[in-house]
Symmetry: C2
Subunit: 186 residues, 2 copies
């Protein structure tokens, strides 16, 4: 048993708290997740969470930081493929971080605002890659579909989407995305 240095110990505690927070925020959403529950799950005292993160809001902010996936800005076809690949990844890859934000933003205005900031950027990338004057609206629809699929699969769990393979879903969505990425006829 080597004893960890103090700084190391602190890092471990912070990490543990963040991991517990992510899990709970994803499972319960912002409101139902309590600092006390996070602390218990991380095996520390609730006061420590406050000590490190200052407030519940701050903790949520830190726990739900997610890297903005960079979509290669290219032509419509490549963008569709990139979007499908990104969706497939999010569908089987550990979706905890996405879920924490998605679930919370629907009831917490701060979460919504933070997500919106990241979302508009990605939306701009998408709409830049597709032609047509209503490109922005069609990009929004693409985003809405991605969100809808994730929400349906993990949060609502209504139909077969919950146990379909990501590849199968991507396969079915390819013509859909292509239809939206193509300019309107006429």
């Amino acid at each position: 048993m080597e004893k960890p240095t103090r700084a190391e110990q602190r890092r471990r505690s912070e990490e543990g708290i963040l991991a517990a927070a992510r899990t709970l925020f994803a499972a319960l959403g912002y409101d139902r997740t309590t600092i006390r529950a996070v602390a218990k799950a991380a095996g520390v005292d609730a006061g420590l969470v406050m000590h490190y993160f200052g407030s519940k809001d701050e903790l949520f902010a830190r726990a739900s930081e997610l890297p903005v996936a960079e979509l290669p800005v290219a032509d419509a076809d490549e963008m569709v493929e990139a979007l499908l690949a990104s969706l497939a990844t999010r569908l089987d890859d550990e979706p905890v971080a996405s879920l924490a934000v998605l679930r919370s933003m629907l009831t917490n205005e701060d979460a919504a605002a933070r997500y919106r900031a990241a979302g508009v950027e990605q939306l701009a990338q998408i709409s830049a890659a597709i032609p047509g004057e209503d490109a922005e609206l069609r990009a929004s629809l693409l985003g809405a579909i991605v969100h809808g699929v994730i929400i349906e699969r993990y949060l609502l769990r209504l139909g077969r989407l919950s146990d379909a393979s990501p590849e199968q879903v991507a396969e079915l969505l390819r013509p859909v995305f292509r239809a939206l990425a193509a300019p309107a006829e006429g």
Copy 2:
């Protein structure tokens, strides 16, 4: 000023409470909506809400009863049109009831269960109308898209979807829905 009969007064109070509850549940979700706030919005005492509805859960159940939209079971094309019409209606028609459920079901397990019960029925209608062996999965995707669009428009409010006309959205989604309602090639 004629004075209302006692039964009439009661009916008005219940109605007012339910209306206030619907509005607040839609705006805030289940957790952030308090019985006290509902009572204040309805201009009555919190105790009265309990007296009439028994519990917050019961109140939510009553406030979020929504009629199951009957989709005419027909061929794929008609189903697509019915789905588009239903979506357009939900997009500009008062979306309060839908939002109360959608927003709450993501954090409240009871709401989720109740919605699921209604949802599987509708999903079955959809998948019955479209051919192919993966009809159920494609029906799920159709449902996911509908939810995604509503959530994006009213809850996330990310992109252009918030101010697009329901007709325009329906127009853009028609080829999408058709692509999903058609059987997979091969």
